[in-house]
């Protein structure tokens, strides 16, 4: 990784978006390469080895998903953020299933994109595949099968609601990171949600009950007062 200016490959076919985002990211201290379709993104990714790739989902010639699939197929595990078009739950699940490290719904605030870029870069382990691309996540005796949407603790399958599962999945793919309540609501709903703190907290209580996790002496999920939650157990990804 070049120390001072990390390179970002930005692929978006809408010139107004690319033209405005590129200088914004340059100002934030990145070197930005802009391409307008999936094919050239694939080529540039192989030629320039960027530190991070931002892919729009809807692009001519090859869409963002296909581009990402092909990148992963040729063993390029560069952290990737997908810019999705619709906020529907299925769309978000797909974004993560295809091995994207994060996603952002259009329209977004550029500062939000910058925050995600920084978080993803902080999480990234160069050359290695990220947790977001793993099918099976394990931490202590807890394992999360993302394909089957099933979590088990010490070999016993946990009964979790889809929303609680989504929360656990997000926390496990972002270990050691302070995750705000607002972000968790966005993960569950995919749209801005009036942040009743209890909405997340009840979900969390359900999760802790299932995980048999004591909030005062947590093994898995730690509460950060006034901020949110953090998954503290070391997470390994497989498959």
């Amino acid at each position: 990784m070049s120390l001072d200016r990390p390179t970002i490959l930005l692929a978006d076919d809408d010139p107004t978006i690319a033209d405005s985002l590129a200088p914004f990211l340059e100002r934030a201290g990145f070197h930005v390469l802009v391409v307008s379709d999936g094919m050239s993104a694939l080529e540039k990714a192989q030629a320039h080895h960027p530190e991070l790739i931002i892919l729009d989902v809807l692009m001519p010639r090859m869409d963002g998903r296909e581009t990402l699939r092909r990148l992963r197929k040729i063993n390029i595990w560069t952290p990737t953020i997908l810019l999705t078009q619709v906020g529907e739950a299925s769309e978000r699940a797909l974004a993560l299933e295809e091995g994207a490290d994060d996603y952002l719904n259009k329209p977004f605030d550029p500062h939000e994109l910058l925050a995600r870029i920084r978080a993803v870069l902080r999480r990234a382990r160069p050359g290695e595949r990220s947790l977001s691309a793993a099918w099976l996540l394990t931490a202590h005796d807890l394992s999360l099968d993302r394909r089957a949407r099933r979590a088990s603790l010490a070999g016993k399958v946990l009964e979790l609601t889809p929303k609680a599962f989504a929360v656990l999945e997000h926390l496990m793919t972002h270990p050691d990171e302070a995750v705000t309540r607002e972000r968790l609501l966005d993960v569950v709903w995919g749209w801005e949600y009036p942040a009743g703190t209890r909405t997340v907290d009840t979900r969390m209580a359900e999760l802790r009950r299932a995980l048999n996790d004591d909030p005062t002496e947590p093994r898995f999920i730690e509460t950060i007062p006034g901020e949110g939650y953090r998954f503290i157990a070391p997470v390994r990804g497989e498959g």
Binding site: E88, P162, K163, W191, Y193, P194, G196, R198, T199, T202
Partner: protein, 299 residues
């Protein structure tokens, strides 16, 4: 009225059935198989003709109803598009004007104001889009069905609205009956129900002034749980009352206020998903006020 509609076509057939039955009985009394067989065939034929007519009428009725339905759907779509056009046009015009000002204004202060206006227009468009997405998302998503604690839910709403600028230290009274205890639960998706009540309380805050009072209350009548959001504001004109749950409809006194115009449509959709109903009563003369009622079935 029904008889009037039906009689002209059915009457001759009905009298034929009568005649046939009489002949049948007569045939039985004189023990004449020929008369019995003939009148029996007569009755059956009359019945078949009767059923045929009845069926044709039913098909015609269904066709009319379907045509009406299509017409209504078309009307609703046209209305929606017209309103959407309007909702997008306004912030877009503001945005354009702000951009012109940004390039032409000379002083720093005026440029700052242009940026502020542009931001506001963008926020409005974003809010509209988010709410549209919520509506379409709710059409496809399966909702959770778990017991929901109503007093806790209302408490959460009141906490969540506290950060709204319209709140400004105003009090919202939550009324929950002490008996039966504990208050019966409803089955549904807690997050969505919270969103529905939140929208109603947000509206109440938006359309009332600081002196008005707002009440959120829950009742139960054995079969259903009723959640009411009441305010002592100026009330809604009666012409608007029937339309306020329509998507993007803006009542005459809601034109200038912020909002996507989809809040109540969302409430309606969420409550319908829970097999409940939503209603409103409002008065602009004493005793003044507006009450929104959400009725949800007990499990």
């Amino acid at each position: 009225m029904l008889a009037q509609l039906l009689l002209p076509t059915i009457f001759p057939i009905l009298s034929s059935v009568d005649f046939g039955t009489a002949a049948f009985v007569f045939g039985m009394t004189i023990r004449n198989p020929a008369v019995v067989a003939f009148s029996f065939g007569f009755i059956i034929t009359a019945f078949i003709i009767l059923i045929y007519y009845w069926d044709r009428r039913r098909i015609a009725q269904t066709q009319t109803m379907y045509a009406d339905y299509l017409q209504e759907v078309g009307d609703r779509r046209r209305n929606f598009l017209r309103r959407l056009d309007h909702e997008i046009k306004n912030p877009l015009t503001g945005l354009r004007a702000a951009l012109v000002n940004l390039t032409e204004e000379k002083t720093e202060e005026e440029r700052d104001r242009a940026v502020m206006n542009a931001k506001r227009a963008v926020e409005r468009l974003t809010r509209l889009l988010t709410d549209l997405r919520k509506l379409s998302d709710l059409e496809e998503r399966a909702i959770e069905r778990f017991p929901v604690n109503v007093p806790e839910l209302l408490d959460d709403v009141v906490t969540a609205v506290r950060i709204l600028p319209a709140h400004e230290k105003r009090d919202i009274h939550v009324l929950i009956p002490k008996v039966p205890s504990p208050f019966p639960t409803i089955t549904g998706d807690r997050d969505l129900l919270l969103l529905a009540v939140y929208n109603l309380v947000e509206n109440a805050l938006k359309f009332t002034s600081a002196d008005d009072s707002i009440e959120v209350r829950a009742l139960e009548d054995g079969r259903s749980i009723v959640i009411e959001v009441a305010d002592s504001g100026t009330g809604i004109p009666s012409d608007d009352l029937s339309k306020i749950f329509e998507e993007l409809y803006r009542g005459s006194n809601a034109r200038g206020t912020e909002g996507s115009g989809l809040g109540l449509a969302l409430v309606h959709r969420i409550v319908t998903l829970h097999h409940g109903g939503v209603g409103v009563r409002s008065s602009q003369v004493e005793p003044r006020g507006t009450v929104f009622t959400v009725r949800l079935p007990r499990r």
